[in-house]
Every structure is written in structure tokens, then in C-alpha cells.
Subunit: 112 residues, 2 copies
DNA sequence: TGCGCATATTCGCGTTATCGAATATAATCA
DNA sequence: TGATTATATTCGATAACGCGAATATGCGCA
């Protein structure tokens, strides 16, 4: 087993390692949104969203603010969008390979 | 299910979402290393390392060069270390919370 | 050729993640 | 208070992950 620090870093990346959670974070780029608004934007099950939000909360990637009936989420730190932007550059740098990977991902998705 | 692009991004983060793989990438920061050298550095099972390397390869995060008997690995793109550096800043920015999280991670590890 | 070293792959199994359904909580409002 | 809305949690099933043991592959060298 590796060090605690590496475990910590890994846990943050792991939280980012799901398409729905990437979508949530991208949805929050523009500013805070209520859970309901996110749900509508992503059109996923309410419970499922709540589970993903719980993970992002537990990793401290988002904060939430309760207002009356609803809960508003926002990104905890702009560093996150920074990382996503870098990944976009990374994606472009490896465009050819990435396209191939996308193909494989698509193929996998179809066979499910 | 979210878009293909988000699935792709998530798959890259997911590859980073394991302490051993973080350790591998950090080990490769200084330059290329043979699989054996990495194994020695991390002191993990040979098969296990090979599995992790396979994942990093499949996500295009590392390249490998065969030389005679051995295989040398290196980071595909400096963007990776850039992301790790940013995460370090992130970690420092949230030091207080992170320390708490580390405590939780440690506690979890002990109870296993 | 046949042996030995470095690395990769396969297999079986335990653990963790993910999902939808159902249920719980908590706030508002009639 | 009771109904309604918004969100969270629990549960059970399935899928994916991670590991070590065993085995396979591939290269160099006697």
C-alpha cells in the first residue's frame, strides 16, 4: 500500500472518475445550482444524483447551502475547473489516440 | 448516461484514482524507468504492477519502449505532472479539511 | 535448442461502486 | 396538523475493481 498522501490524491481523482460526476462539475462551472436544477440538466434519477453529490461532498469538491426547501451546490475551488481545462488541452494534444479511445468506449457502451 | 466526452474524461481520472497508480506516475516524473525499477521503488507484487501499468497504458497516460529484456515506461505528456502539481496546490488550499479527510482515510485503513 | 530473466496475462475471489426502488427527513404551505 | 415538495439515505442486486497465484510470452545467452 502506498502513502496516505497518495491515497488522498487518488481519492480526489476517483471522485472525478465517473461521467455523471464530471457532468455535475461542468454544470456547476457557471455558478451554483440547486440539486433539482442539476437533476433536470442531466436528466438522471433523483436518488442517483444525490448519491453522486454525496461523493463529491465527501471529497470536499463541492459545498452546499441550504435555502428553505432546496439545497444549492457549488464548486469548492476553481482549481477543479482549472484541472478540467488542462484535461481539455491534454485531450486535444492526444486527439488522434483519443479518438480511437472514444471509439472503444462507444463500442463498449453499445455492447451493454 | 452522460456524453462520450465526459466518459472519456472520467476514464482518465479514473485511471488516476488509485494510490499505486499515483505512485507510479510520481515515480516517472524524473524520467523513464523500467518496470522492474518501478516495482522495486514501490515494492509491490510484479503482477500487480503490471496490471496497473496496463491500465495506464490503456488510458494512454504512459508509453513504453522495449529494450531487450526489459520495458521502459515514461509519462506520455507533461500535462499529467502539471495536474498533479495543481492538485498539490489544491491540497494546500484545503489543508484543514484535507487533514481531517486524511484522518478518515487512515481510520478506514486501520479497520480493514 | 533450451534455460533463465523480465514482463504480461489469466483466473478466482473478496471488496467496492453503481443503480433504481423504496423509504426517510425536513421545510413549506394550506 | 396534514399534504406536498425537495433532497437524502437505505437496501438489494449486478457490475467493476484489485489482488495474489499461477501461467504465458518474449528475449538473450550458453
Amino acid at each position: 500500500m502506498q502513502g496516505v498522501l497518495q491515497t488522498y490524491k487518488a481519492s480526489v481523482f476517483q471522485a472525478l472518475g465517473h461521467p455523471t460526476r464530471i457532468a455535475i462539475i461542468e454544470a456547476l462551472r457557471e455558478g451554483e445550482l440547486s440539486a433539482g436544477a442539476i437533476q433536470e440538466k442531466l436528466s438522471i434519477e433523483q436518488a442517483n444524483l444525490s448519491q453522486h453529490l454525496a461523493i463529491l461532498r465527501s471529497r470536499q469538491l463541492v459545498t452546499n447551502r441550504k435555502e428553505g426547501n432546496q439545497v444549492f451546490y457549488s464548486l469548492r475551488n476553481p482549481v477543479l475547473t482549472e484541472v478540467l481545462d488542462i484535461m481539455r488541452r491534454y485531450f486535444q494534444a492526444h486527439l488522434a489516440d483519443s479518438i480511437q479511445m472514444l471509439g472503444e468506449i462507444e463500442a463498449e457502451q453499445k455492447t451493454r
